[in-house]
């Protein structure tokens, strides 16, 4: 039988999953590489595990929402990601959806 803490953690992760994608897309309006993206998210209070971040970036790129290119910075090759034009459109729609849900939930909780 799952404990209350386990149930809370599972529900918390489910709640975070969708919002993290929105946060990643929003942060990639500016070009970033994986590590700097993770730091940028952490600075605004959204910690994300690298094990989840990199596969997510690849998936979003595969879906055409991100573009990427390898460039050298600080004498090391890094892969820079940014929103594609399709990604910008999807981010705008998701943001509107998020605000609507947020407004609704504010009245409920």
């Amino acid at each position: 039988m799952p404990q209350d803490a386990d149930i809370f953690e599972t529900l918390r992760q489910e709640l975070r999953r969708g919002t993290l994608i929105l946060a990643v897309l929003a942060q990639l309006k500016v070009e970033r590489y994986g590590y700097s993206l993770r730091q940028a998210l952490a600075e605004v209070g959204l910690e994300i595990d690298e094990g989840a971040l990199y596969p997510m970036l690849r998936r979003l790129e595969g879906q055409g929402l991100l573009t990427s290119e390898w460039r050298e910075e600080d004498k090391r090759k890094k892969r820079f990601y940014r929103l594609s034009s399709e990604g910008e459109a999807v981010l705008a729609r998701l943001s509107a959806e998020w605000r609507a849900m947020n407004d609704t939930l504010q009245n409920l909780i």
Binding site: G34, Y35, A52, Y54, P55, R58, R76, K77, R79
Partner: protein, 340 residues
């Protein structure tokens, strides 16, 4: 090769070839960034133990590589209920198939009864694991679309039988729920298929015809040769009826009609067997001196059992035919127009 290279090589070995170089380069950069961050925090280079701890904290190579793969559940949530449904049915089949030789042993050699449970258990475990293995492979293939299963997506609400599974209205109390009916239909399909395979000699019988701990064998009586094709036809009709019960449970009248045909055929079969009076012949083992008394005793017991079984069969089948005729007359399917 330092620890980082060893770690990345272990991850690379598990990645898809076309993405390997790309992913490893990105992981290398990430890990180097982490190391540099840690060194800046400590104000000194990391020791070998600290580097190892950092890599360990990043995750086991199998887990790290797995996140980049297209890992999917063996059997996903959409298929799982059907899988569990099938597994339950197969467990019942395994129990039935394992019980048959055990029952035969109890009837023909009562002295061996104490060992029968162990024999049943051993046979059941073996059969159950094999069947669950086959069901899992099938579920895996269906999950990946290698076996298209139209019935899971292409179905009509109007084809569902009108059943009050929860008995919420009180009207359905005591009736079989839709899952139970489907479960029974699946069980019928599996058992009838097994029978057809055994009857046609495709698979051998899971029991020996030798009477345990004796020099006697049980041979089929000549009546079975006469009944070969009629029985095969009967099994065919039964299979069609059971498949309808499983895949199109709303076709109540068609299934009822087929069940009436099967019931009448079963009634005729029971009557023929009752008249013939013998379905197995007890004979001595080849090259063994016959024990006439023992053979005659067992033959009489089996003939009496047949008469009793045939009589019970005729009563049960008569009731079944009456029930199916009632279902055929009444139907059990919701009226779509009435609902709409």
């Amino acid at each position: 090769m330092d620890l980082l290279d060893r770690y990345l090589a272990a991850v690379a070995a598990l990645l898809p070839k076309d993405q390997r170089e790309d992913i490893v380069a990105e992981l290398r950069d990430t890990l180097l960034n982490r190391m540099e961050e840690k060194e800046a925090e400590l104000g000194r280079p990391l020791t070998a133990a600290e580097r190892e701890a950092l890599l360990k904290a990043f995750g086991h190579p199998i887990a790290v590589a797995g996140r980049f793969g297209t890992t999917r559940a063996l059997i996903g949530p959409e298929i799982y209920p059907f899988y569990m449904f099938g597994v339950k049915a197969l467990l019942v089949v395994a129990a039935v198939v394992s019980a048959i030789p055990a029952v035969i042993t109890v009837i023909t050699a009562p002295g061996q009864a104490p060992g029968v449970f162990a024999q049943f258990l051993s046979s059941f475990i073996s059969a159950a694991f094999t069947m669950i293995g086959v069901a899992t492979v099938l579920g895996f293939a269906i999950e990946r679309g290698w076996i298209p299963l139209d019935g899971l997506t292409n179905w009509k609400v109007a084809d569902l039988p009108r059943l009050d599974a929860l008995g919420a209205t009180g009207k359905g109390f005591g009736r079989k729920g839709p899952n139970r009916r489907r479960f029974e239909a699946l069980l019928e399909v599996i058992l009838t298929t097994l029978f057809v395979l055994w009857w046609t000699g495709v698979v051998p019988a899971p029991w020996s015809n030798r009477v345990t701990d004796s020099d006697m064998v049980l041979q089929p009586a000549s009546i079975w040769a006469t009944l070969y094709w009629p029985l095969l036809a009967w099994a065919g009709v039964q299979l069609v009826s059971s498949l309808i019960g499983l895949l199109r449970p709303g076709w109540v009248r068609i299934r009822a009609a087929l069940e009436v045909v099967c019931g009448l055929a079963g009634l005729a079969l029971a009557a023929v067997l009752w008249r013939v009076g013998r379905i197995v012949v007890v004979a001595p083992l080849d090259g063994v001196e016959p024990h006439t008394d023992a053979i005659a005793g067992l033959q009489t017991a089996l003939d009496l059992s047949l008469h009793l079984t045939a009589t019970v069969m005729m009563v049960v089948l008569t009731v079944k035919i009456a029930v199916e005729l009632w279902r055929l007359f009444r139907g059990d399917r919701p009226s779509v127009s009435a609902v709409a």
